[in-house]
Amino acid sequence: MLGTLSNDLPALQVVVPLMSAPLCLVLARWPRLVWILCVAASWTSLAISMELLDQVLSYGPISYAMGGWAAPWGIEYRVDSVNAYVILIVTGIASVVLPFAGASVAGEIREDKVAMFYTLLMLCLTGLLGMTITGDAFNVFVFLEISSLSMYGLISMGRDRRALTSAFQYLVMGTIGGTFILVGIGFLYVITGTLNMADIAQRLPEATQLRTLHTAFAFLVVGIGLKLAMFPLHLWLPNAYAYAPSTATALIAATATKVAVYALLRFVFTVIGPVTAYEDLPFGEIAMALATLGLLTGSFVAIFQENVKRILAYSSVAQIGYILLGIGLATALGLQAGILHLFNHALMKGALFMAVGCFFYRVGSVRLDDLRGIGRKMPWTFAAFVIAGLSLIGVPLTVGFISKWYLLQATLQQGYWPLALLILGGSLLAVVYIWRVVEAAWFGSPSVRANDAKEAPLGLLIPTWTLVLANLYFGIHTELTVGVADLAARTLLEAIR
C-alpha cells in the first residue's frame, strides 16, 4: 500500500489539501475538528514535500503523468530542485500558520464562517501547490485562478469593512493579471502547438514567429508581475495585506508572491529561455530597474505608514525588489541569491505577520497609536517581532543577513557597486520602519487599549516562535538553504545549454 502511494506523491501533494477543503464544509458544525483536520492536512503536505525534495536531491527530477496519460498529451507534474524547494517553502509556512490559525481565527472570524475560512485556506494552498508542481502551462493558469479566487474570499473576511474594498481591488487587478497570463500561454500554444512546458521549451528554438514569441513573453511578464507585486503593479498588495484576517495575511504574504516569483522563473528560464529574455529582449534591465525602484519606494513609503500591517506590506514590495534584483542579474550567484531570499523572506514575513497577529488578538487593532506600550505587556510577542524585524533588516546570525550577503556578492561580482549601495540603503530604511514600531511598542506610554492587554496565548506564541527560531536556525546552519538554492539556480541556468 505504502509502496504504491509513494509513486503518487506528486499528485498527493495537491490532492491532500484539495480533498480536505470540502471536508471542512462537511464538518462545519465542529469548528475545532475542522481546524485539526486542516493542521493534519498541512503537516501531511509538509511530509510529502520533504520526501519529494529528498527524492529529487538523490535521484534527480521526477515526472508524474496525471491519470496515466503520458507527457505531451496528458498533464505532467514535474518536480525538480527548483519547485521542490518552493513547495517546501509553501507547505512549511502552511504547517506553521495553520496551528496559529486555531486561536487567531476563533478571535477574528464569526463562528458560522470559520469552516468557510478554513475551506478557502485549503483551496488557496491547493492552488499555490498546484501552480508550483505542474509542468503544464495551461494548468498553471487554472491553479493560479484557484489560489486567487480563494484569496479574494480570504481577504474579504477581515473584520474591517475596508477588507471588502481591498478584496475587490485585488480581484480586478488579479483577474487582469490572470487574463494576461492566459493570453501569453495562448500565444505560446500558437507558436508551438503544445502546452507541456518542457515540450514548448524544446520546440521554441525552431520557432520563426519571433514577434508572437516576444508578445507572449511581454504578456506573461506583465501578468505574473501583477501577481508578484512587481513595483508599479503592486497597488493591490498593501490594502490586501492590511485588512485581511491575521492568519490569511501570514499565509498569503509568506507564500503567494513567492509562488508567483517561481512562475516567473519557470517561464523565463525553462519555457522561453534566457537567451530570448535577456539577449533578444531587455528583461534583465527592466527587472533590475523596477526592482531598484520598488526597493526604494517600498521602503520609503513603509516609513510613513500608521498601520503596522501596512508597514510590513510595503516592506514586502521592497523585499520583492531584492528577489527581482537577483533574477535580473541572471548570473548563477544572482539567481541563487534571489531563490535564497524566497525562502528567507517567507520565514521573516511569516514570523512578523504572526507576531502582529498576536498583537491584534489582544489589542484588536494594529495601528501604531493603539500599540503604544504593548511591548511591556506582551514581552514574548514583542521579542518575536524584534528578532524577526532584525532578520528583515539583515543583521548577522539571521536569515536576512544570508540572502543580503549573497545578493551583495552577486552585484559586486558584476561590478554594479551603486546597486550594492542601494541594497545597503534599503536595509537602513528597514531599520527606520522597524524602529518606529519598536519605539512605539516599547518606549511609548501605554495606550488605553494596550493597558488591558496581556501576553498572547500559547496557541499563538508557539507557532510564532517556531518561525522566529527558524529565522535564527537557518541564519546559522545555511547548508540546506544555500545548497538547494545553488542547485536550483544551476538547474535553471542549465536549461540554456
Partner: protein
Amino acid sequence: MRFLQLYNYEIAIFLAMVGLYIVVSRGNLVKKIAGLSMFQTSVFILYISMGVVDGGSVPILTEGVTRYSNPLPHVLILTAIVVGVATTAVALSLVIRINEAYGTVEEDEVHQQDESF
C-alpha cells in the same frame, strides 16, 4: 484584404481594449465587473480563433473528412469560461457586501466614507 480576413482577431483586440477602458474609467463597481467580463471574453474569442484550420471541418469524427479544426483551444476555453464565471460571481457578491457596508457601489463615495472613517 488581409485586414478583413483577420476580423475575429480585431474583434478580440477591440473587446479587450473596451473592457479594460471600462474597468479603468468607470467608478461604478458593477460596471467595472461588466468591463472585466468583456475583457475576459475577448480572450475566449482569441483562443477559439486559434483553433481554426484552413478548410477544416467541425471536429466530430465523420466519414470522408480528413481535415478537422483543432478542438483543444475550445476545450481550454471551457475551463477559462468557468474561471470567468467564478470570478464574476465572487466579484458580484463582494459588491453586494460593499453595498451593505457602505450603502453605495460608487467607488469615489466609498473612498470618501473611508477617509472620514
